[in-house]
Structures are given as structure tokens and as C-alpha cells.
């Protein structure tokens, strides 16, 4: 088991290093010069060169990369080229709202997806199943940039229950969490339905029923437990996506999260901030996947052996 964990951690390290390298190279290859964005076109050539030197942008790319890695191993993410704020400070400002939104969205997704998926599986082929899958298809099909304003219109403007946008108390979390959570619920409910349908035909479920167990106990104690493996994988991936990919929802609801920071930094060619954001997002992905792999290995020895 130990060698399995070590090999997973080593793979995770290689992936993170690869991401750091690729992002560093790509961001430096994208057209647009941060020095010109900072100084404007009216700056003299001398001023430009001085700033380029001060920022270390006059060094060769490999040298810049080594300097960047050197700082990284000392946990120094540097500072924003534009606001001059420490990047660690910028990230800490943004990570909390992002986590809040991600957790709330997951909660919304669970609350919708589990009852819906189970009901659809139990009532397969009936009206309830069709209704649940129509909901699911609608949830997947409506993009967040439409779902967000629709929810705002109904729940904030017409009913006046929640604020339109911003991060100001728990009530402001409801609409963005619903926007993100509905789409996730749609995917999850389909997966739960499919996994349950597979499991419900197994012999041990038939045995449980033959023993006289009620539907709730059969589903809760036996079927759901075994149907959860692919669902957990999906949730793991979706958590990563929620942390990184809530940009549209963050924009619509003016939610000061990590996604907005990443996009704004790309537009401003704020290299260090872009690198730090992507490093954080990719590390989260890798950590979640590695943990999933390790837990899988613990639960299912066949996976360990095949490695």
C-alpha cells in the first residue's frame, strides 16, 4: 500500500511541475507585454527597459523560470505587477468566497440530485422518471449566464427574496449556489440514476428484498452504497471544476472569487497572478484526484495490484 501511495504522490508531483512549466511558457508566449500595459504607450524606451529589468523580464525564459521555481519552493508567490499587492494576500482574499460558493453549490446539488436520481431509478420508465430526466436535461442545457439572470429576475426582482448580487451575508449565497448547483445536480442525478439501475439488478439486492427489507433500507443500506463509486469520482472532478470554473457565475453575481481573479489577471497580462491562480487550481485538482486514487486503492485492492 505504501509503495502505491508513494507512486501516486510522485505522479502528482510530476503533473504539478508539468503544469507550472506549461503555464509559465504559455503565458509568456501570449501576445501582450505587461510592461506596456503598466507604463502605457507614452513611456520612453529607457523607462520601459528599466521596468523590464526591475521585474526580471529582461532575462532569458529559462532563467526567469528557474527564478520563479526558486521563489516557489520558498513559498514566495511574488506580487501583482499592477496592484503591487502580495499574491498570497490576493489569493487568500479570493479563496474563501470561492470555497463558500463551491460548498454551497455542492450542497444544493446533493439536495436535488439524490432524491431525483433515486426516484428516477425506482420509477424507471414512468412519468416521474421522465420528469426527472427532463429536469436533468434542462439543467445541463441552460448555461449559467442565462440561469443566473433568470434566477435574479424571479427571486430578487419579482419576489424580492434575495439580493441581486454581491457577497453580503448568507442570503446573497443562495442564488449563485442555485445557479451552479442546478447544473451540477443535473449531471449528478443522471449518474446516480444510471448507477442505481445497474446495482438494483444485482443478486444481493434481490436477496435483501427477499429477506423482507423495505425499499428505503434496500436503497439506503445496500444499493446506494455500491452505486456511489462512480458518483464519488464525478463529485471529485466537479469539486475541481467548481473551484476553477465558476467564472461565469462569479461574473453574473459579482462574486469575488478565484475565477474572476484569473480572468482579470489574464486580461491585464499580470503573469505572476495568472501563474499563482493556475497553480492553485491545478494543485487542487491533482490533490483531489490523488486522494481519490488513494482511497480507491484502499477500498479496492485490485486497483493497487494492477498498478
Amino acid at each position: 500500500m505504501l509503495s502505491y501511495i508513494v507512486s501516486r504522490l510522485f505522479s502528482a508531483f510530476i503533473v504539478i511541475f508539468g503544469v507550472v512549466f506549461i503555464v509559465f511558457m504559455l503565458i509568456h508566449m501570449v501576445p501582450g507585454d505587461p510592461v506596456e500595459v503598466m507604463l502605457g504607450e507614452s513611456a520612453s524606451v529607457v523607462d520601459r527597459e528599466m521596468l523590464r529589468h526591475a521585474l526580471g523580464l529582461d532575462l532569458s525564459l529559462p532563467q526567469q523560470f528557474i527564478n520563479y521555481l526558486n521563489k516557489l519552493v520558498h513559498f514566495d508567490l511574488g506580487q501583482s505587477l499592477h496592484s503591487k499587492k502580495a499574491i498570497s494576500e490576493l489569493l487568500s482574499e479570493r479563496i474563501v468566497p470561492t470555497l463558500e460558493l463551491s460548498i454551497a453549490a455542492l450542497l444544493v446539488a446533493f439536495l436535488i440530485a439524490f432524491p431525483l436520481g433515486i426516484m428516477a431509478a425506482l420509477k424507471k420508465g414512468k412519468a416521474a422518471d421522465t420528469a426527472a430526466m427532463v429536469f436533468s436535461l434542462t439543467g445541463i442545457s441552460i448555461p449559467n449566464f442565462l440561469m443566473g439572470p433568470l434566477l435574479i429576475l424571479v427571486f430578487a426582482i419579482m419576489l424580492g427574496w434575495f439580493p441581486v448580487s454581491g457577497r453580503d451575508g448568507l442570503s446573497s449565497l443562495v442564488l449563485p449556489a442555485l445557479t451552479l448547483g442546478t447544473a451540477l445536480a443535473a449531471i449528478l442525478s443522471r449518474m446516480i440514476r444510471a448507477s442505481l439501475l445497474e446495482v438494483l439488478n444485482e443478486d444481493y439486492i434481490r436477496t435483501a428484498r427477499a429477506k423482507g427489507l423495505g425499499t428505503i433500507r434496500v436503497i439506503g443500506l445496500h444499493a446506494l452504497k455500491n452505486a456511489m463509486l462512480p458518483v464519488i469520482t464525478l463529485i471529485g472532478l466537479q469539486i475541481g471544476a467548481l473551484l476553477a470554473g465558476a467564472v461565469i457565475t462569479e461574473m453574473v453575481f459579482s462574486w469575488p472569487g478565484l475565477g474572476q481573479l484569473t480572468i482579470e489577471s489574464i486580461q491585464k497580462r499580470d503573469y505572476p497572478v495568472v501563474q499563482a491562480c493556475i497553480l492553485l487550481i491545478s494543485t487542487t485538482y491533482v490533490v483531489i484526484n490523488t486522494l481519490t486514487d488513494i482511497v480507491y486503492g484502499m477500498l479496492d485492492p485490485r486497483i493497487r495490484i494492477s498498478q
Binding site: 501570449v30 501576445p31 501582450g32 507585454d33 506596456e36 500595459v37 503598466m38 507604463l39 502605457g40 504607450e41 507614452s42 513611456a43 520612453s44 524606451v45 529607457v46 523607462d47 520601459r48 528599466m50 521596468l51 526591475a54 499592477h82 496592484s83 503591487k84 499587492k85 490576493l90 482574499e93 479570493r94 439572470p149 435574479i152 429576475l153 430578487a156 426582482i157 424580492g160 439580493p163 441581486v164 448580487s165 454581491g166 453580503d168 451575508g169 448568507l170 442570503s171 461574473m251 453574473v252 453575481f253 459579482s254 469575488p256 474572476q260 481573479l261 482579470e264 489574464i266 486580461q267 491585464k268 497580462r269
Partner: protein
């Protein structure tokens, strides 16, 4: 206590805590909105350090925090801010502080602060983007607490117009105070807090009123927040349909003023097609600017003929290229183009949906005069990079906050090719260069204005740009807001006088 009872107590405690937490969170907005004006902005300020600020939002907010030596009058000529001036010789200006000002940390503003501020701008180590425009300051001398002399390395009759940088306290400059996120100025507003990029609080010095600047990128959401009472004022950056919609809403006030932001269509003069003056003329005649202003801009713009509007002291009476598609077609036919053999041009723009919409309208209008336009939209960095490198045929951009004629050298002089200038179209014209040099040397402002008008006529003939329009500055505000006004350059100075009626902080009230 039995385990069951203990569990019940823990459950009751948990529910009570949760209820109190929710209640506290929900009440936060209504409590904190007391004596607060919430101002919606589309982009957050980047830095509150006047030495480094280049974006419009930072510059507008810095105007509220810091005071400047010089301001601009209605005709865009420099007028005294906190100082008046005298030109003692061609290269020697004396400024006298005419107002007693106090910095927000309690220290009096003196000539030493002015000297320290401008020396900080000139200090190469600070890499200030403002340095280049005042790089001809040779030395600065403090005469007394209220008097300061500037000595220049070359003649500049408009020198005072460049002294618009916010004054910072010398003691804080010496300590390398982080002005970027903890500004200390002497303006009508003092810094309160900046919890994150998109939310900034300032406090009005005169009466303690708080202004919250809240970034809301999406214009639809900005409008909805205004209607719901989560914002009190929104200004500019709204599509025409939102403007029309808001104008019909009860309880929402509207104010507008012609602006000075200049939108133009630029040509690459080194390109064999757009380098042809006849093609540029055909395009100028083919554009129905009035229709674009009416339908795409909701009449929130004024048609432009040159860089400066007519009220500007350099406003010139220029020949108009009025909409005349017949004439445009004639020109194109003479050049050998027809409906079956149209001219192919590419038009580069940013990925901003509004700019793409304008590009599409221009594409449609040019199609009628045998010009097929291929629209290419890119993210800002790529688009701007291509424009500076001269990798374009047609593009459209905006000049924001242009008030002084030094823009002509910067944009049209043959020595101002990027990256050293903004002659992006690569215009090379001896007469243009001569007129710029002559005007710059002329110490009499009236004669200088005449020379600049000649220059504008020459440019209007050469058509390196087609002037499109000046965007109006517009603001919508809830009827609980009084005495807010908009300015020509879209700054936020209206907040200095704005009032919010007492007892009007409740949200969600906008009955039609």
C-alpha cells in the same frame, strides 16, 4: 443529565446559533447601508497610488482622494486647482498654493509635499507611467511653504496642464508608504477600507458620508441592482437597450452630458488597400454615423469630426464627410470594384460585445458600397498588441480623457511609431510634422490654437482616422439621491456634492 437530554440541548443550541447567524448575515446589508451611497462600477480600481494609476477607474477615484495643483475649465484649458501660477520666463513657472489643505493623516499640505510628489514621479526607480509627460522638468525649488518654482528644459506654454497628479505627503513618501492600497491624500474623500478589489469604501471628509464603490461587471446585473436598491448610482458602460429601459422606470433619475471620449476608425496607411486615400474617403462617405448613434448608441453620443469637440479651445471647423453612399460607390467603381467584385478588408476589434456590435453595423454599411469586411475579434491584449505592431487594415478604438494638444505629436508625428508613440497607422507626412513642431514652439496660445487647427484640417484631408463620435456621459440614480452631476470626462466628482435622503436605505423598493 442523560445522553438523550444532552443531545437535545446541543441540538437546540445549534439551531439557535444558526438562526442568529443567518439573522445577523441578513441584517448586515441594511445596517451598513446607513448613510452610504453605493456606486456601481464596471471595472475595479487597480491602484490608489497617483504615481502608478493609468486605468480610468483608478484615476477617477484618485481625484476624490487627492488634490491637484491644476484642474481643467469648461473649454479644457488649465485652471487653478489648489495653486495658481505665473510664467516668470519661457522655462520658469511659479506656483502659489491658494488654498489651505490638510492631509487625511493631519498634516498641512505645503510646497514641500508638491516637490516630493513631482520628484517621486520623475524618479526613474519608481517607474511611474506619468513620468514621460513631465520629463522636461529640470528642477523644482521650494521658495516658501506656499510657493514652488518649476524649471523646464524646453519651452512649453501648456506646462501647467500636465500638473494634474495627486499631491502626496512628503513624510509618507519618505517612508515608502503603500499608497497603492492605503492612500493618504488631502481631497474631499478619505480612504476607509478596501476589503477586496471590487469593493472600496471612501468617507466624505465634510460630513462623514460613506461611498461604497462596488464592481458589477455585467451591465444587466448592474441595472437590476439599481432597480432593487442595492446600488444608488450607476454611470456609463450601459448598452442602449438598458438605457432605454431604465429611462422608463419610475423612481430612477437620469442625467447625461456630452462627453469627450473620442471614438474613431483607424487605418493602416502602410497597407496597399487602406493606404489608398480614395478607399479611405469611400469608407468615410459610406458610414451613416447618425443612424449608428440613434440605434446602436441610443442617442447617447455626439457625432465627431475631429479629436476635440467644438467647445474645446482647439475645436476646429472641419469638413464633414457626410453620409453619401452614392459618392462612396462612385469612388469604388472608379477604383474597379463592384457588387460582384467587392474590396476585401479585415476589421480588428476587441472581444467586447458592444464593440463587436458596432463592427457588425459598420460591416453592413460598407457592404452597400462594395466593401466586404471580415471582422476579427480578439482578447484585449492580443488585439492591442496587433494594433501596435501594425498588423491590421481597419480597427476602432477610443481615446479617453484627451485634453491637451500633445496628443497630436503622440499619435500623428512620423517619429511616434509604436512602441515610442501611438502612430499606429504609420502616418508619414512632412507638413503634419512641421505643423506639430511649429505649434509646440509657439508661446502665444491663440497663435498656437491656429496652428493646431491648420494641423487638424490637414489630418482631415489625409484621413488617417475617421472620427466617429464622442460618447455622452450618463448616469442613472435612485430618487433618494440628490445633487449628483456628471462631468465631461466621466469622473466621479458628482459624489462630492451628492446627498442621500435620510431613511432611504431600505432595499427592494422600486414600484412602477
Amino acid at each position: 443529565m442523560t445522553p438523550d437530554r444532552l443531545k437535545k440541548w446541543i441540538f437546540v443550541l445549534f439551531i439557535s446559533t444558526l438562526a442568529m447567524g443567518l439573522s445577523a448575515c441578513n441584517n448586515r446589508s441594511s445596517d451598513s447601508s446607513h448613510a452610504i451611497i453605493r456606486f456601481g462600477i464596471s471595472s475595479a480600481p487597480v491602484t490608489l497610488d497617483p504615481l502608478q494609476a493609468t486605468d480610468a477607474t483608478s484615476a477617477r477615484i484618485n481625484r476624490l482622494i487627492y488634490e491637484t495643483l491644476v484642474e481643467f475649465g469648461e473649454d479644457d484649458l488649465p485652471v487653478p486647482g489648489i495653486a495658481s501660477w505665473q510664467q516668470l520666463s519661457q522655462r520658469h513657472y511659479r506656483f502659489k498654493l491658494i488654498k489651505t489643505s490638510w492631509f487625511h493623516h493631519g498634516k498641512k499640505l505645503t510646497a514641500n509635499d508638491v516637490k516630493a510628489t513631482y520628484e517621486a514621479v520623475l524618479d526613474k526607480k519608481n517607474a511611474s507611467p506619468q513620468r514621460n509627460i513631465i520629463a522636461h522638468i529640470q528642477r523644482i525649488e521650494v521658495i516658501d511653504d506656499n510657493t514652488i518654482d518649476f524649471f523646464l528644459s524646453r519651452n512649453d506654454p501648456l506646462f501647467p496642464a500636465f500638473l494634474t497628479i495627486g499631491i502626496m505627503p512628503v513624510d509618507q513618501l519618505a517612508k515608502h508608504h503603500p499608497f497603492n492600497n492605503q492612500p493618504v491624500g488631502s481631497g474631499p474623500f478619505k480612504f476607509s477600507r478596501w476589503p477586496f478589489d471590487g469593493q472600496l469604501f471612501l468617507q466624505r471628509v465634510s460630513d462623514g458620508l460613506t461611498v461604497e464603490f462596488l464592481q458589477v461587471k455585467d451591465p444587466t446585473v448592474r441595472v437590476l441592482k439599481l432597480l432593487r436598491g442595492e446600488l444608488d448610482i450607476i454611470q456609463n458602460n450601459l448598452p442602449p437597450e438598458h438605457i432605454a429601459y431604465l429611462k422608463q422606470q419610475k423612481g430612477i433619475g437620469f442625467i447625461s452630458r456630452p462627453g469627450s471620449n473620442y471614438i474613431y476608425l483607424g487605418f493602416n496607411l502602410q497597407d496597399p488597400l487602406t493606404g489608398d486615400l480614395q478607399i479611405r474617403k469611400a469608407i468615410a462617405y459610406a458610414l451613416d454615423k447618425d443612424k449608428i448613434i440613434q440605434y446602436a448608441l441610443g442617442n447617447a453620443a455626439q457625432s465627431a469630426r475631429g479629436f476635440f469637440p467644438s467647445r474645446h479651445w482647439l475645436g476646429a471647423d472641419l469638413k464633414a464627410y457626410d453620409y453619401n453612399p452614392d459618392r462612396a460607390r462612385q469612388i469604388m467603381q472608379l477604383l474597379g470594384y463592384s457588387e460582384h467584385h467587392p474590396l476585401q478588408l479585415s476589421y480588428k476589434t476587441s472581444s467586447d460585445p458592444f464593440r463587436i456590435r458596432i463592427a457588425t453595423i459598420i460591416q453592413s454599411q460598407l457592404k452597400k458600397v462594395y466593401i466586404d469586411v471580415d471582422i476579427r475579434s480578439y482578447d484585449w491584449g492580443t488585439f492591442y498588441g496587433d494594433i501596435k505592431k501594425g498588423k491590421f487594415q481597419l480597427y476602432s478604438l477610443t481615446w479617453v480623457g484627451i485634453r491637451t494638444p500633445d496628443i497630436f505629436r503622440y499619435v500623428f508625428h512620423s517619429h511616434s511609431l509604436p512602441p515610442g508613440g501611438a502612430n499606429r497607422g504609420r502616418l508619414k507626412d512632412t507638413l503634419v510634422d512641421q505643423l506639430i513642431a511649429q505649434a509646440e514652439q509657439e508661446m502665444d496660445l491663440k497663435k498656437q490654437a491656429q496652428l493646431y487647427r491648420q494641423l487638424q484640417k490637414r489630418l482631415n484631408k489625409l484621413l488617417p482616422y475617421i472620427s466617429l463620435w464622442y460618447e455622452d456621459n450618463i448616469a442613472f440614480y435612485r430618487d433618494t439621491i440628490k445633487d449628483y452631476r456628471v462631468s465631461v470626462d466621466g469622473n466621479y466628482d458628482g459624489l462630492i456634492t451628492a446627498q442621500k435622503l435620510k431613511g432611504s436605505n431600505k432595499q427592494g423598493s422600486n414600484k412602477k
